[in-house]
Structures are given as C-alpha cells and as structure tokens.
C-alpha cells in the first residue's frame, strides 16, 4: 500500500464505479446489467463482480440480441456468464419482429440496430427491471458527454436532455415512479484508453475479434464491414481479405473493422494511444446519419 495515500487513476475510476453499482443495488428493486460481450460491458461486469464479492451478482445479466452477431461474441457471452454463475436473460430482436412489435428494414443497408430499442424496453417492462447498467462512456460521443451517471427514462424509455436531474458530489438520485426506470452508466468517466489499460491490469478476457485477425471484408462508406450472412454487398463492393480488428462490438451489419496488426493487448493499447479517430467515428455507421444521430436515438430510448 502506498504511504502517500494516493490512488492511481485506474484505481480511482474503479472505486467510483464500484460505489455507483453498490448504490444501485441498494436502492433499486430490480436492477439488470446490460451485457453485449463488448469490451465496455465486459468491464462493467467485472466491476460488478468486484463490487459484490464474495457475494454472487445480486442482479441478472441481459443481452439484447439482434440476431446479427459475430459468432465469437455469442460464444464469449455464454462462456463468461456461465463462469460467474450469473442468470442470463436474452431479449431477442427476432422475437420482436416475429411478434409484430417492429418491422425489419429491407435493402442492402438494412440494420437491426434501431430495432433494439423496442426489444430492450419490452424486456425491461416484462421483467419489471427498474435500473439497467450500461457500458456507455462520456468520451464516446458528444450527446453522451452530457448524460448523467443516473440517466432518468420516462415510461417510454425516452431520455430528455433538457430535463436531466442535477448530479452533485456522489449523491445519486434514483427516485422513480412505477414504469419509469434509470439507465446507470458506472463507467461514464472512463476513456477508451482507460478501458484497455484496465483490461490489461485486471487480465480481463475479451472476445477474440478485438485482436487482429484475417477476415473477409468489403468497403462501404469508408469503413470495412465484415462479410457475413447479415449484409448484402451493393454493386461494386468487392470482398477481400484483410488483417483487421474491431474497436467496438455491435450489430454485425453496422459495426466496422479497422485495419490492424495489433494482436496482443500491449499492441492494442499502443494503437489506441496513437489513434487519431474516435472509436465510434471509425467504426459505427449508426452515428454517421447526422450530427445528432446519437442524441435522437437516445431520446427514443436507445442505450
């Protein structure tokens, strides 16, 4: 232990996140942890294990499954949840489509990304969840930079950026009425680099697609999309093999890969530290729609 009573920035961030998760577990009836297998949700899950040790997780884990996943990620999800003995709830976009709750987009650019919102909200209601932990970070995107740690959602799951509760000191206000809920972002203050440094120092396992590998891809809108059964190439989009890795993990139809040789944690950290493009800018078609794409989706109830 240091005699100077100083914490490193990662220790300070970890302590803050653990504090937030314990507050939620103490003050809400039915929290749930949203888990996609992406690195941010993997870190949130790891923090939850640390927050409640030696108890088991006092809440279940939920995956909003678009059905358009990378196989490696689903395999990772199941392995991880089993290893910690957590209860996994899978909310399926396919089920929402089959039940007529949402209509699948058509065409080569179709994506199930937006449909997730309905599936998520339906599942929250079905299970009576009143708080949902998410892995969003404020450095990701400018609308998120303004979102509270406790993000209040009305009975339609909507975020109203102008009516946010002031959030002072470490006094979080979780008051809500029946039907309303709170999205909680325990890693709001972490950056992409913090996440990777933490993954390394805590030896956290991640899906293999985060590390450089050979993959069949094609180029669209300046991004490399994986050749999967979920996307159809447009005229002129040629498939080729490239050494790539993913910086974010989302729906396979809208998550791009980046060219990379970083096949180890150290190389990834080096790459992230040197990169000049944000992870969402590099790899997320969903944010490219407009300047306020994220804000608009959040207002409708998105993560």
């Amino acid at each position: 232990m240091p005699s100077t009573y100083q914490l490193s920035h990662l220790d300070a961030l970890e302590a803050e996140s653990i504090y937030i998760m314990r507050e939620v577990a103490a003050e809400f009836e039915r929290p749930v942890l949203l888990f996609s297998g992406g690195k941010d949700s993997v870190v949130v899950l790891h923090l939850a294990l640390k927050a409640f040790y030696p108890c088991k997780l006092p809440f279940p884990v939920m995956h909003v499954d678009t059905g358009h996943n990378f196989a490696e990620v689903i395999e990772f999800r199941d392995r991880t949840v089993e290893a910690i003995g957590a209860r996994l709830v899978v909310a399926s976009v396919q089920d929402s489509i089959d039940a007529g709750r949402v209509v699948e987009q058509t065409g080569a650019r179709a994506s199930r990304n937006l449909l997730q919102t309905t599936t998520l909200l339906d599942a929250m209601e079905e299970h009576g969840f009143d708080a949902a932990f998410g892995g969003a970070r404020r450095d990701e995107e400018k609308a998120r930079a303004k979102e509270r740690v406790y993000s209040f959602r009305d009975e339609f799951g909507q975020w109203d950026p102008k009516a946010q509760r002031p959030e002072l000191w470490s006094l979080y206000n979780g008051r809500h009425r029946r039907g309303e809920h709170i999205r909680v972002f325990p890693i709001s203050n972490w950056t992409e680099l913090d996440i990777w440094q933490y993954v390394k120092s805590e030896r956290i396992d991640l899906p293999s697609i985060y590390f450089a590998h050979e993959r069949r891809v094609f180029e669209r809108d300046g991004m490399l999309l994986a050749d999967t059964e979920f996307v159809t190439q447009l005229d002129g989009e040629e498939i080729f093999t490239e050494r790539v890795r993913f910086r974010t993990v989302g729906d396979a139809s809208c998550t791009g890969a980046v060219e990379s040789d970083a096949d180890t944690l150290d190389k990834v950290i080096e790459e992230v530290a040197a990169t000049r493009i944000t992870e969402r800018g590099a790899t997320r078609a969903d944010d490219r729609v407009s300047e306020a794409a994220m804000e608009d989706r959040k207002k409708e109830g998105y993560f």
Binding site: M1, T4, Y5, Q6, L7, S8, H9, D11, A12, L13, E14, A15, E16, I18, Y19, R22, E23, A25, A26, L49, K50, A51, F52, Y53, P54, C55, K56, R138, D139, K142, A143, R144, A145, K146, P161, K162, Q164, R165, P166, L168, W169, S170, L171, N173, R175, H176, R177, S188, N189, T191, T275, R276, I277, T278, G281, A282, E291, A292, E295, D296
Partner: protein, 418 residues
C-alpha cells in the same frame, strides 16, 4: 498516474472554449473525425472560423442556439496525469450547472479577458468555486496578446482580483497570463512574456499538489450495502461495503457505529483483490467487524474518539436548482446525505446571498432557481455530518421533491444550529 478533476466556467467571449480546445488539441485529444465534424458544422452555420465550442456543445439545442446549456465532461491525459474537465456555462442563469460541475472538482479555472478586467461574472465564478470548497483556483488572464503582453496590466488585474478574493475562502490562488488563441503559456511557457516566471497552465495542472486536499484525519465510512453471501464457503461472512469518505481505517481500529452507538473493532478490510492493510478516501471496500452487531445501510462507521456531529438540526447554504416551485419555510422535502435518506422540513430561510455582490438579504422568504441562501432544516432522523469546509462528502446533501422525484436543491452544511 493521478486523476485531477477541474471545472471551468465561462462563455465563448472569454475564450474558454478556445482554451479547452487548445488543451485538448495540444495533448492530441481531439480526434480527426471530431475536428472534421466541427469544421463541417462551423461552415454550415456560416461561422467563418472553426468554432471549437462545438466540440463540447453536444446537444442539438446548444448547437442551434450557440450556447452551452449543460455541464459537459471532457477527458484528456498527459504522461503525468489524467484530467476530467467539467465544462460549465458561465451565465448567471446556469448557476446550478456551475455548482454541479464544481461539486466534484479539485481545481477551478476562471478566465478573465485582459482587456475587460475582473467583471461581475468572474467574481461570481470565483465565489461559487469558494462556496463549493474547491481547494485550488487558477485565474487565467486571457487575451494577453491584445494588451501587448503587458506585465503592468497583468499585475493590475492580479491586485484587483486578490482584493476581492480576500473575502472568499480560497486555499490556493494562482494567476497565469495566457493567450488561448495564440497558445501563450497554455502548454509551453511563452516567449512573449519573459517577465512571467510561473508555470504554463498545463504544467500547473500537472504539478499542483492535490493529494493533501483530502481529509485524512476524520475516518468516515457511510455503509452502502451489507454483503452476506450465505454460501458454504463464506457462511458467516458479513461485510459492510462502502466508500471511505474521510480519514484512514485499518484492521484493529476501535470503531463505533452510528446511530446505534455499538462499539467494535475492525477485523479486516476486504476487496476483491484481497484484504488491505489500510483504506482511505476514495477507496471502495468492505469492512468486517470482530463483533456480530446490527449494521445496515445509512449507518456511519467512524472512530470512537473522532465522531461526526449527530443531529437533526442542519444549518446549510442551499442552492435551489429547479424552475418549478421555490424553497419556502415549512416546506417538506426528501433529503439524501451520504448513504442516508431522510425527510426534512424547512424551518427558516435566514438570508439570500447575492452571488455577484455577496450582499445578504435577510428580508426574503423564499429561494427560486439559481438562488443561494442560508437555510435551517430539521430532519426526521439524525444525520452524521461534518462541516462542508472540513469534508465535502459528509458535509453535502441534496433535496428531492417527494412528488416528482426531481433533485431540487443542493446543500452545504455550515455549523450546527444552536
């Protein structure tokens, strides 16, 4: 690497956004796609220049109106420190946002325009920084290039500000002459101001000593959550989880639990990574005691010889933070303090403080949005508190409207009402 949180307040006119933009740009924190997006939007708005304020003004309404409405958090790091900026709007109508951003800050950055001098707005920002107990205040005298890098002008503004700051409670006050636009004294020392012998802003942010700002004397552990695994492996385990908000706790320490007054000794301090020899703020830990006593959320663990004040009469500086309604005598509200939630009634509004002149108006009977006043409250259950000036965590609370659930006020505890 240490974490430093700082708050900035100001408007585009002060050059605040330019200064933040420069810190981010020169530490390679602005990404190419963000810069391109800002350039595109600047052009679409017909700005004629790259408006770095667009980097932080993330909401549609902010971009449309060209103003900062809410607190924006920005992140950057140098090899020495990681920084979290709470960037807040400076106009008086956003006092609540400034207070929110300032509540967790180690340092406040206040900008003044070298040509305009110490305006009402700068004084207000300094006052709020002092009210919120921010230990370090940096006054950046900006636009030095427009006053010919004049040492005389800088000294004049320093004197004027010092004169005002003498009425405030600021532990550490630093003055830096800068030109955010030209980069003078922002990251590197400026060749244009050879007479200035201090650090550049970034160097100061990297070096300012913050480790001793925390209270390491009064041990305080508000209990958040009781860990009881009831598994075969940890059959009798009972850990009191929480974050240390003051002092240092060690195994073997004699403690008392409030409000019960039960005494015990710390058996161990646990974390997922194993037991630790000592715990200090802001560590999140779980404490085990040698005795099986009743402890639950909202209780306070502290040393027997050093206890917080326990009481139901609270005297505090309160800022009303919502458009709807006002703070009035006789009003009942929910109150959250540390991990404790109680109800409170407003007994008296002693005065309202004018945040620009520091004048006390004792004739008021209510506080509306953005107004700050000295208020006496009575709570249904005792709180275990310290003066805000002694401990920002055990000295602060929020008030919540019991009907809407909204956070309507923030409070900083002064002395106990006698």
């Amino acid at each position: 690497m240490e974490l430093l949180r700082f708050a900035t307040a100001g408007s585009v006119d002060d050059g605040k956004s330019t200064l933040i933009g420069r810190l981010l740009y020169d530490t390679k924190t602005i990404f190419e796609d963000q810069l391109e997006a800002v350039e595109r939007t600047s052009e679409a708005m017909g700005a004629g220049y790259v408006n770095l304020a667009l980097l932080t003004d993330g909401l549609r309404a902010e971009r449309e109106q060209g103003i900062t409405i809410d607190v924006a958090y920005r992140y950057f790091a140098t090899p020495k420190r990681k920084f979290i900026i709470a960037d807040t709007p400076g106009h008086i109508q956003y006092t609540r946002n400034m207070i929110t951003g300032a509540s967790t800050a180690d340092l406040a950055l206040v900008l003044i325009d070298a040509r305009k001098g110490v305006l009402e707005q700068s004084r207000r920002h300094a006052f709020l920084a002092s009210l919120l107990g921010i230990p370090h205040l940096v006054l950046c005298v900006n636009k030095m290039d427009l006053v010919d890098y004049s040492q005389e002008r800088f000294e004049e503004l320093k004197d004027e500000f010092r004169h005002f700051a003498a009425r405030l409670d600021i532990a550490d006050l630093t003055f830096i002459p800068v030109s955010a636009l030209r980069g003078d004294n922002v990251v590197d020392r400026s060749a244009n101001m050879g007479w200035y012998e201090g650090s550049s802003l970034l160097h100061h942010l990297e070096e300012v000593h913050i480790a001793s700002d925390r209270n390491l004397i009064d041990a305080r552990l508000p209990v958040q959550y009781v860990l009881r695994p009831q598994s075969d492996e940890h059959h009798d385990y009972r850990g009191y989880a929480g974050r240390i908000v003051g002092g240092v706790l060690k195994p073997g320490d004699d403690i008392v639990v409030l409000p019960s007054g039960f005494e015990s000794t710390i058996a161990a301090i646990d974390t997922y990574d194993g037991p630790v020899a000592e715990a200090f703020a802001p560590m999140s830990v779980a404490v085990r005691l040698t005795d099986d006593i009743d402890v639950s959320r909202g209780d306070m663990i502290c040393r027997r010889q050093n206890r917080p004040t326990a009481g139901q009469d609270i005297d505090a500086m309160v800022c009303w933070m919502t458009e709807s309604g006002s703070l009035r005598q006789g009003q009942k509200l929910a109150l959250k303090h540390t991990t404790r939630s109680v109800r409170a009634v407003v007994k008296d509004i002693k005065y309202r403080l004018d945040v620009n002149t520091l004048h006390r108006d004792e004739t008021v009977d209510s506080l509306i949005l953005n107004e700050i006043g000295r208020v006496a409250l009575r709570t249904t259950q005792p709180l275990f508190f310290d003066r805000y000036s002694r401990n920002r965590e055990t000295g602060s609370f929020i008030l919540i409207d019991e009907v809407t659930g909204a956070t309507v006020a923030a409070g900083m505890i002064q002395d106990r009402v006698h």
